[in-house]
């Protein structure tokens, strides 16, 4: 009897043992997933904290029909290179040039319907400060950046001004100079500031831009004339629009502009 009772009681024990074996022997734990590498985009060849200079970046110009809109132009500060128009809705450019004589600058922003990059992934924006390039050391607050397209161009101290701009347009030639024929219709870049004919000093302008990837640049616009970089060499017949500018990039999250 004793033996019989032992055998009957062993059946539930066997079932429990079987279940335990089943659980322990089923799906063995695999190894933890290893993070997979993201292949970086072929952008960002320009090093941070180094002064860059771009000379004679040419855009479409037609003096016989000056008010007709021209095809926008695109430039990558991250790669120091011209970008084709078919890449407008990508993050591969940082500064857009359009509007009158393609002289109005903007950042690359995919969320603003007025921006050349609308629909794309660009996170860029722009602003302009009345301060010399070297003295712009703090990155302005985010709220001050603007995402609109066709934004920074003619300065109010000249003709057809639209706020604080990077250049002063002298229609009659008398705002800056003596009004001679060759000094009419001249665009004066304000990267170094300028003194008006009436003696008023115009402070230098510096553009601050958030790139499409979210880094920051400050830009000094030097000229829009070919191989002519100072006001005394700018005349109505000097070949234009050839942008010359200097800039420095600092990474996303920076609070200061530094040149090392």
């Amino acid at each position: 009897m004793k033996m019989k009772a032992t055998k009957i009681n062993s059946i539930p024990n066997l079932i429990i043992l079987s279940m335990a074996l089943l659980v322990l022997s089923s799906c063995s734990k695999g190894s933890d997933p290893v993070p997979e590498p993201v292949i970086p985009q072929p952008t960002g060849t320009v090093p941070y904290y180094k002064l860059q200079r771009v000379e004679n970046f040419a855009v479409e110009t037609d003096d016989t029909d000056p008010t007709a809109p021209k095809n926008p132009a695109y430039f990558s500060l991250e790669n120091k290179a011209i970008v084709e128009a078919n890449l407008a809705k990508t993050a591969r450019w940082d500064v857009g040039f359009n509007g009158l004589y393609n002289s109005f600058l903007s950042g690359n922003n995919g969320s603003d319907a007025t921006n050349l990059g609308y629909g794309g992934p660009g996170a860029g924006a722009i602003l302009i400060i009345e301060k010399p390039f070297d003295e712009v050391t703090d990155i302005p607050a985010e709220a001050l950046f603007k995402t609109r397209g066709t934004l920074v161009g003619t300065d109010d101290h000249g003709d057809f001004g639209e706020g604080t701009g990077w250049y002063l347009y002298d229609f009659g030639g008398t705002t800056i100079s003596n009004g001679t024929y060759e000094k009419q219709h001249v665009a004066y870049a304000l990267g170094n500031g300028i003194t008006l004919a009436n003696g008023t000093k115009i402070l230098p302008r510096t553009i601050v831009l958030r790139t499409a990837a979210g880094n920051y640049a400050k830009i000094k616009m030097i000229s829009c004339y070919q191989n002519a970089f100072t006001p005394d060499t700018w005349f109505r017949s000097t070949p234009h629009m050839f942008f010359t500018f200097e800039y420095v990039l600092v990474p996303k999250g920076s609070t200061k502009f530094e040149i090392k």
Binding site: L14, S18, E36, T90, G119, G120
Partner: protein
Amino acid sequence: MKSKLIPVLCCLLITSVFTACKKTMDLPELPNSRITEYKVPVSDGTIAGVIDESDKTITVYLPFYYQLDVIDPQITVSDGAKLNTIIEPVDVMSETTTYTVTGNNNSTTTYKLKIEIQQLGPLVVIEPSTATTTTGWAIGSKTISIQGNFNTTDATKIKVSLIGSDKVEHALIISGQTASVTPIILATGKTYMLTNLQIPQDLPDGEYKVRVKILHLTGETTYPIKLIYGRPLIDYKVITAKQGETFTINTTSEVFYNFQELSILVGGQKTLLPIVSYSRTEAIIRIPENIPVGTYTPTVLFQGWAASTLNWPINVTAK
């Protein structure tokens, strides 16, 4: 005794059955030359491509409202693997893009990219003509408009062509600088008007259907339009020529047809300047030697149209 062993044996059998199939039955190992993630950055985040390992395709479902011309993807591959080419932007209409990945064991896998643009269809073009009235469009005109449910304000995305008896698509000229698209609300819904298209100056007159393409959608009119010769327009040009010499005038819009005469007033008298030759886009005019030196305002006459005085001068200088 024997019958009581049966449950025990059953338990052992069940255990052995459930534990038999384990590590020795692993699925075939996936190659390590895989694309594991394909992402397309857009204005409000990213669009994930669907990677199908069974047919080695990557499908990107791209909503049309982003109005992208290209996608600029971000690609992740298996640990230790690499793409054989650098990542370039891809035209949204591309059907030939592939990516080849080489694994760290030198295995390779090639994926084909498929971009499915999610557009609302069908594309309906509002008829310029009716069953009883055929609209005439002037050859060379730059002011052609076409309306339909284009769902875009980007003029460069709307491809308009004329289909004549030759069944060939003759593209209307569209310029991103002058063409524009304006939304118009009709009782039947929202439509879009594309304006400032140009009829090519070399197209023959006759009847044509109008075909519109927007990415993968195509719409075509039921009724044809008719290409006709409109009133020619001459490009503005200040002419300076010597007595006895010729000068050229051009048109970049409505073409020359049945050019009858070009005249000036000399001493109050209408004086013809002979038309040496002309084509649809250019005419060569001669200044007679006896025309006095001076500045004249020309008047032109094309058959079927009233004479018109031009707004540019002819400066005649001494020979």
